[in-house]
Symmetry: C2
Subunit: 284 residues, 2 copies
């Protein structure tokens, strides 16, 4: 197995795969020398390389765990030296555009099984990797034209072994669901944090007057800009749809406050509270 | 001391005041019999009453801790039986409209010192009250025309004794700061939760595909609708201002995604991350 991008996700998968005895030898391929050294020191990988030919050699299974827009260039560099029947998978947060970018690069006997483990932390890099990261997490597999049944089985087994719950979805369904469940909350947190970055009243920074609620609501804004620029640019249509539902909802609230519409306000606050109860698994 | 509304805030203040030896006898005034019983059982108050004449009798200090729009009716019911020189304070999240509503009700020798402890939890009621709730919290006192120096000193001393950091601000500055630091995050969380309440893709509820980020960003949506309808209706101008800055920020993000403006997106994600670092007290 070769892991391309030994970060939080790639590194955690390597650790879980080793613990479960799924692989004999793990090769870590990456650009950052310091991060690869951490991965070697922590015994996450057996071999570290920055050379795509070495990374590709003998790799029956390739896990692409780089930022989304580096997935295709990475695979392109590996393909000439991969075994003819290599299985390729990825861990990107967007699936349709990833599949479109990767499929044309595959050799004729290779298979692609695109996947998305819905797991993450604020921390990044091999230093943050954790064999238990995926326990109880949801992993979505989005089979495509170039997914063989054999390859799908192998990738499903791998993810199940990490403790994750595996589910198959069409790529476009995945992208529309995640645009709302993940990309939209991120954009709300970023928009709120950006709006407040320089906001002062009478020379006092508003952030100094917030409590736990402000911290919760902006927590995601600390996420990696690189990762999120990639997601925004590769899931545009679904994200714009999701943003328009948020805009409607915020516009509705605004008009109710302008009008002093007490009954309308009560209704929208109750809708929000109902969603939260459903999210917490309480009866709605 | 009489506490009107022995909920999370009123009850916690009563507990801290008793522990610090600030008061001899605490009367709890409220509408809900069950909640008053909890307050008696937990020894938060010495006397429980639903009769405003009993609540007012001999009350040198009255703490109004009811929902915002009940503050004025509550004070009005007490005034005829209050000592001539009673000091009135409140704990409302909005200050200008509260001061405007309460001042005209005061007897000629009474004083009002409006205040806002920035503290809260998802839990409510006397059962959730905690003598340590205000330790390290910020309490803002907004002196007005009817605040005497003596009364301001008394209220400041009371809040300092609870462990809070006390600060004086003009009421309009308070309202503009809190509209951004507290009311805006609440409205974002509610708008997002309401937008996702019924959102499905291919019969799957999007909430089932969210992770910790969705939970953090919508956590505030669980707050009390009653409390927030009151805040929206009593701090309208400042909240509408705050909403318009959020709308600009979200609109900016939307246009950048439409245009595929990579540099612009990177900049706004970095602004958001900078705000978060500043909020966490890391160097910006």
């Amino acid at each position: 197995m070769t892991i391309c991008g030994v970060g939080l996700i790639g590194g955690s998968l390597a650790m879980a795969a080793r613990r479960e005895g799924l692989v004999e030898r793990i090769v870590g391929f990456g650009r950052g020398e310091a991060n690869l050294k951490v991965a070697i020191d922590r015994k996450i990988i057996d071999v570290a390389t920055r050379d795509p030919a070495i990374a590709a050699h003998g790799a029956d299974l390739v896990v692409l765990a780089t930022p989304i827009r580096s997935l295709a260039p990475t695979l392109k560099a590996l393909v000439p030296n991969l075994p003819a029947n290599a299985v390729i998978t990825d861990v990107g947060s967007v699936k349709q555009s990833v599949i479109e970018a990767l499929e044309p690069l595959l050799g004729p006997a290779m298979a692609l099984v695109a996947a998305h483990p819905i797991a993450g932390r604020e921390t990044t890099g091999a230093g943050a990797a954790d064999a238990d990261l995926f326990v109880g997490a949801r992993v979505i597999i989005t089979p495509s034209r170039r997914s063989t049944h054999l390859a799908i089985d192998a990738i499903e087994r791998m993810w199940r072994a990490t403790g994750a719950r595996v589910e198959q979805l069409p790529a476009d369904v995945h992208d529309a669901l995640l645009a709302r469940a993940s990309h939209l909350p991120q954009l709300c947190a970023t928009a709120l944090a950006a709006a407040l970055e320089d906001a002062t009243v009478d020379d006092r920074w508003v952030g100094d007057y917030g409590a736990g609620g402000l911290r919760d609501t902006t927590r995601l804004a600390a996420s990696s800009a690189d990762m999120w620029v990639d997601i925004c640019l590769t899931n545009r249509a679904a994200i714009l749809d999701a943003l328009s539902s948020m805009n409607s909802s915020l516009g509705e609230l605004t008009r109710m406050i302008e009008r002093g519409d007490e009954a309308g306000l009560r209704k929208i606050f109750e809708r929000g509270a109902r969603m939260r109860r459903r999210l917490s698994g309480e009866s709605a």
